[in-house]
Point group: C2
Chain length 560, copies 2
């Protein structure tokens, strides 16, 4: 009975008490202090109290969120749901902690340990969020309508399609794998984007080994079945290769001793976004991978076993169609402004992998900035006048800060120095243009999709929570072209660093301030950061226990 | 570093030390003392030392085992693999603890927690067992050859088919689901026989709920999607219904509050083996289930959501084909003798679900028994003469023991009493026949497939381990029809009881001696017995931690 009563108490503690008690109860389980946590429950609901009373009585605005990935969930976590009528549409009824997907492919972590049901997460909030497991097929921007469809094939009854009206739409549908129209890729390779993909890869890896040991195969055939090929230069591919290497060395060599020396892992790159390489995969058949050497143009084929295609992403069809409607047909990715508002469309926001912020160029606005700063209309900008607008410039044009750092300038006013490095008291418009002419080269694409998406979600929810308050008391920088101030400060990304496990209990970490760490201790740092970043206490406990289990018992090689 | 060194030590303890240390180290984790354990590692290798030295030098006999279920694995666990050249063929490279399959359907226990890779289990033995992940397509009994095929569809290279020669064949392939040729069953229902089936059911249950809450459905449509139908009267169906009921009441009502009152679980029975019911399912369409009332012959249809078909099993095609070859074409199930040897075929054994023991009838042998017992050929059997053969009779004809228990007779000699209950000193052949005439009514089919299969596997491995020794020193009962003794004692099943979880932390237990227990404590008894019966320490730890996790966090409702 003591066991029973312990469980009953433990269970009650988890189900019944408010959040703060949980944190107290379990804080000893978390490996890290949680300082880097972008996602822990302790951070939720910071800016929730605002506007609540004002809103309550009038009709709530309808917010529809598309997607339950990093961006969508992070938006929902912090949103004041008492102020809005919130609906969520996603074909997956769970959030997946994607940085651990490569670990799922080899069973270091179980698939179920890195997912958290959306309904579970919403249940804990004080208010109602309606969730629909469906895919948005069409955004009708003109009528503020969505067409959605339940896409699971089963014997259910009732219409699979339904439409939703929105006042505000938040697009956070992510992106899809880009095959670059390479022939045979869809049919003959694995992707590593969804939890199901990782599970399939796991089964297939085991199958490759089981096939390779069968009687009656030549050694060459065994080698081919154990030739694992990864196409793509991104972190996902590197991490999968590392995981696979560990799985083979730590577990499979003991279970399939006869073929342990025949395993080969090859990583091909393919030119896509930000990848420069020596060869390009041009087609994939059921038995071979064919590529072209860039230097010589030579074409060669290699027999292969399992292929994982991880080369980059492209816009989903529903977003592409939406872009056509709003005059963004020529763009590759949906563009938003600095406040994550979709350009060319009212009341629609886009964040995460499905959109990019179109960072405004300072040179395009240079005349307006000069005019706004030159208060006395003298045609010259004094240091004093420049200092008055510096803060607003830095917020609106983050590239200025990058430029200063690159040039090792200490103050923004250093920009106004003349060519010999002497201070100037004032500059005219031409001098001002010259001073800032190279700043826009520092406009950067954002790295680390998961971190960006999470921060954008959190940022946007805070904007939503203060929508009314900021309408009358705008918080943003001044309008250089018009009058007054912007309603909100623009989104700014803060980089917390990146991890890459390298296999064999080794990991590389790139931390803020260009600090790079490698080795065994980094692996444990990686474990603790990932554990602390997990989306719920449940997944946190599960992931840590998965790691412990793997350490003690090794990975499971059952083909399920 | 303390965490790291703890893990390192723990890991070394598990990987490096011999079996006895593991038992010491972890015994506090097991909830039960392990007294009922048919399967724990502590029992392995009892009869292993025999014959080892004699065998070593001459050519080893080839033993091929088909199947890695309860029967096959239990045979392999105890077999002296140094004495035989052992190969295992199975389409699943793992053993699954099937009594917990219903728990997997609702996430009370994870699929991976109830499976153990065959190669892992074999790795721990001192010797080599070769495992092939393939299906046996054809048994060629005349040439002692098997045709096997790798059945996974992937892009692997090399021939999928291969053949194996055997000296001894152990058939332990189990049985397949019997649809009784009911139209629509294959297309429109779930089975619950394999781990994959349980995983599919879990996903489908969640999908039913997700579909049922979508906008635009009528209440009637929601009801239909949440109408769960179980066809079949066996324990699997009961347990699935109980699990589903718990999942709905404990977890889903909180996550899908709008439809919680629309859920309905219906359990239909279908006449098959040992099931007597009021109606018979005659067809299944994608939307409806159609049945016939036995009493009135009336036919009616019901709309349904998910259907689980769990009505019984039938012989697999490869076994059916084998039966045709050896003159068992007219039988429904493969027949073996009491020593698990297949009738009509040399050196082939069959055990578990794919075979039944053809229990010999005492009345068929009655003349031979009388003749063998009547040593002085007097034509009369004295009590003394009867007592001399009693032990052999009890071993060869277990129905005698059942008969004595049913009739509440204390000694076998009580059988010889006359009609008024008086002892007789001797009986003639007619009197002897009369005394035993009702005994054969007590021939019983064996219950609890998993327990029977496990005990048969263990029994057969012990026979194999003593094959040589018992050739010269037979251990079995005397041949009544010939001279001498049988090589081995026949297989005898010992019933350890059965459990059935009833939902809501309740369970029913049927234990030896007709002791029946129900209630909450039985649930814990059930947990502890199942935990102790798990096939490896890994699965034992995982299952217990799954139960703990479910108790604290509830079941996961993510659709993966």
């Amino acid at each position: 009975m003591t066991i029973l009563s312990f469980f009953t108490r433990a269970s009650r503690a988890f189900h019944g008490y408010p959040l703060s008690s949980k944190l107290l109860l379990l804080s000893s389980l978390s490996l890290s202090g949680g300082g880097v946590v972008a996602y822990s429950e302790s951070q939720a609901d910071v800016s929730k109290t605002s506007d609540q009373t004002n809103e309550k009585d009038r009709k709530k605005k309808r917010v529809v969120v598309l997607g339950t990935g990093w961006a969508g969930i992070s938006f929902l976590k912090d949103l004041d749901i008492s102020a809005y009528d919130v609906q969520v549409v996603s074909p997956r009824n769970y959030f997946a902690f994607t940085p651990l997907l490569p670990s799922v492919t080899c069973g270091t972590v179980e698939a179920r340990s890195i997912v958290e049901p959306v309904r579970n997460m919403m249940k804990k909030r004080n208010g109602e969020v309606r969730f629909w497991e469906a895919e948005c097929m069409k955004i009708d921007a003109a009528n503020k309508k969505l067409l959605c469809r339940y896409t699971v094939k089963n014997n259910s009854v009732g219409n699979d399609e339904f439409s939703l009206d929105y006042d505000y739409l938040v697009i956070a549908v992510g992106a899809q794998v880009n095959t670059f129209n390479t022939p045979g890729v869809l049919e003959n390779s694995h992707f590593l984007k969804e939890v199901e993909d990782a599970q399939k890869i796991r089964r297939s890896v085991i199958n490759c080994f089981e096939k390779a040991v069968l009687p009656g195969l030549s050694e060459e055939e065994r080698r081919i079945n154990l030739h694992f090929v990864i196409v793509g230069g991104g972190p996902t591919g590197v991490e999968f290769a590392a995981e696979l290497h560990d799985f083979v060395k730590e577990d499979l060599v003991n279970l399939y001793p006869t073929v342990k020396d025949l395993v080969k892992i090859t990583k091909f790159c393919r030119d896509g976004i930000n990848v420069q390489t020596g060869c390009r995969v041009i087609s994939l058949s059921d038995k071979e991978i064919t590529m072209k050497l860039k230097s010589t143009g030579e074409i060669c084929s290699l027999p292969r076993g399992l292929v994982v295609w991880s080369t980059g992403v492209e816009t989903r069809p529903v977003v592409k169609d939406f872009m056509d409607q709003i005059g963004q047909a020529n763009r590759r990715v949906l563009a938003t402004d600095e406040w994550l508002k979709v350009k060319g469309c009212e009341d629609v926001y886009a964040l995460g992998d499905c959109a990019t912020i179109n960072q405004r160029k300072i040179m395009e606005d240079i005349a307006a900035i000069f005019k706004a700063a030159d208060k006395d209309n003298s045609g010259f900008l004094t240091i004093k006048e420049f200092e008055d607008v510096i803060d607003d410039i830095l917020v609106m044009y983050p590239q200025v800060k990058h430029y200063l750092r690159t040039k090792q300038l200490r103050a923004v006013t250093d920009l106004l120095k003349d060519s010999r490095g002497n201070h100037r008291d004032e500059v005219d418009i031409e001098g001002f243009k010259l001073a800032l002419s190279h700043v826009d080269t520092q406009v950067k694409n954002l790295p680390a999709p998961a971190q960006v998406a999470a921060q954008q979600g959190e940022y946007l929810s805070k904007c939503f929570n203060r929508m009314n308050r900021c309408e009358y008391n705008p918080e943003g920088p001044r309008h250089f072209k018009g009058s007054g101030r912007h309603q909100f400060r623009p989104f700014q990304y803060k980089h917390f660093g990146q991890f890459a496990p390298l296999g064999g209990e080794q990991a590389a970490a790139e931390l803020p301030g260009d600090w790079v760490s490698m080795g065994r201790s980094t692996q444990w740092l990686w474990y603790s950061v990932y554990a602390s970043k997990q989306v719920s206490w449940r997944t946190r406990v599960l992931v840590v226990s998965d790691w412990t289990r793997r350490f003690i018992f090794g990975r499971d090689s059952s083909r399920i």
